[in-house]
């Protein structure tokens, strides 16, 4: 694996970032990369700084130390190349679904005229099955539909990377399931590089190629990298019948329930933060 990682030039390289306040280190010495076309999930409990890490990748926040290199250049702020799907849908309530997407498109393509933006926004909404609701305001959409608009807005600008901050956590289980499949399909179709934060284990197994497990904060760190070897495309309805699924799930659950706690705090001697152990529970 080492050889393969060295061969692939990661699109994003997170190099030893930390976030600390006087007297408190939330997370430290976090290293990881996201390869082109790869889907990486970061799993951990609340308070380990997951959202901060995502915001740093988005350019909305800066680390206390360390750097993030994207496409060979250090991040110096937000970029259209890294689209964010926010936890709350973050749609602008005075704009219709179509106008919300068109706003993003207008930022990406300042030269486009109104008609062209409209057409492209319709097309993007069509891809998430919302063509019929384009004229509606967010207040007239259900929670799942709002998040679909958020997804359409992020994908419409053809980002090089998709950043998702627990995008489905506010939705009911049924809606969440269908949206996860939708995202899985879209990301696979587009070969989209993606980074997602979640605390939903099944979501991580369904979507991710690699799952980064974080210990509890303070002084959180990436304790382990789980390689998801389950074959793709993964279908939610049959995923749990896949050989290796339960081993994978149990491994992550065990980590979240006990090891995230017992491993928390200072790293053991000889710990190499740049290469946390990789495991393949699904074989």
């Amino acid at each position: 694996m080492d050889g393969m990682q060295a061969a692939l030039k990661p699109y994003v390289a997170v190099e030893g970032i930390s976030r600390s306040f006087p007297g408190l280190t939330v997370f430290q010495d976090v290293w990881f990369g996201v390869n082109p076309g790869e889907f990486v999930c970061l799993v951990g409990h609340s308070g380990c700084g997951k959202t901060t890490i995502l915001n740093i990748l988005a350019g909305l926040d800066v680390p206390s130390s360390g750097t993030v290199v994207v496409d060979g250049r250090e991040i110096d702020g937000p970029s259209l190349d890294r689209a964010v799907i926010f936890q709350g849908h973050a749609l602008m309530p005075w704009l219709s679904a179509e106008q919300n997407v068109a706003f993003a498109l207008g930022c990406r393509h300042p030269s486009w005229g109104r008609a062209k933006l409209r057409e492209a926004a319709r097309e993007a909404l069509g891809k998430v099955g919302l063509a019929a609701a384009a004229e509606r305001k967010p207040s007239q959409l259900s929670g799942g539909m709002k998040q679909r608009v958020g997804i359409a807005r992020a994908l419409a600008i053809n980002p090089k990377m998709l950043l998702m901050d627990e995008p489905f956590s506010a939705l009911d289980a049924l809606t969440r399931g269908s949206l996860q499949e939708e995202v899985s399909r879209l990301v696979t179709e587009l070969g989209q590089t993606a980074f997602m934060i979640t605390h939903d284990v099944d979501e991580a197994i369904l979507l991710a190629d690699r799952i980064l497990l974080m210990t509890n904060g303070p002084e959180a760190r990436i304790a382990e990298v789980v390689i998801n070897t389950l074959p793709k495309p993964r279908i939610r309805a049959t995923l749990h019948h896949q050989p290796g699924y339960h081993e994978l799930r149990d491994h992550i659950m065990d980590f979240l329930i006990t090891r995230s706690r017992t491993l928390a705090g200072k790293a053991p001697d000889g710990w190499d933060a740049k290469r946390p152990p990789e495991v393949r529970p699904a074989g």
């Binding site: 988005a58 350019g59 909305l60 702020g77 937000p78 970029s79 259209l80 890294r82 689209a83 964010v84 926010f86 709350g88 973050a90 602008m92 309530p93 005075w94 704009l95 706003f103 993003a104 930022c107 990406r108 305001k137 967010p138 207040s139 600008i157």
Partner: protein, 283 residues
Amino acid sequence: MGAQVPFWRAALLSFLILAALLGAWEIAVKGNAGPSAPTVDPELAALLSPAAAAGGQTAMPAPSDIAVRLYELLRDPFHQRGTNDQGIGIQIAWSLWRVLAGFALAMLVAIPLGFVIGMSPLLNAALNPFIQVLRPVSPLAWMPLALYTIKDSSISSIFVIFICSVWPMLLNTAFGVASVRREWLNVARTLEAGRWRTAMRVILPAAAPTILTGMRISIGIAWLVIVAAEMLVGGTGIGYWVWNQWNNLSIADIVIAILMIGLVGLALDRLLGLLARAVAWQE
């Protein structure tokens, strides 16, 4: 409360209350005017309205007298026969012009300045003491200073309108801008929307309902203040007209002026209410 009342029932009740009030007024004024000898001093009576001089006990006109007078005034509301005899329509137009001019100037200052204050916590803190001290000052207290520096009574009343309508708009704009949701600003940042685009396409629509509330308060205050200001400076305007009719002891005209001031104030408020509804959004 709560249950919807049919419109016609409320309207009918309103009409009945109005009829009862006017009826009682009519009887109170006319009923006392018996055939007995006049108790009013003839010299005073000569100064009063013809009705009083003819032996009525009171100079207070009955609603029917007012209606007749209203008809006379409204038959030719825009006549101009010298400086002291101009139609009531002309007077209201003068007042409206001053209010709108002062209000527009206040908008030009308050909305951009409010924007800046709302975006910059430093400026907000620095300007706050000035605003807090100047805001509670009665706008009429500025009048002598305005007359002394501007040396033009009409422009001075416009200045007084400006100074009284600037505060609610300034404070509401600053508040509205400062409380724009972080997540919408983050959306704009990740889309690299730029300062101007963010201000016009995100902050302005987000703060618009709050700004409109400030404008609505301002126009109400401005319309209150113009009457007093015109009473002070004289010349033209509905406030001057009221004072003039007081000097003429034409009580009917004063009652009519009160009615007109109320109706115009209502119209101004409704106008801004419509505007507020147009920019309102719902989460």
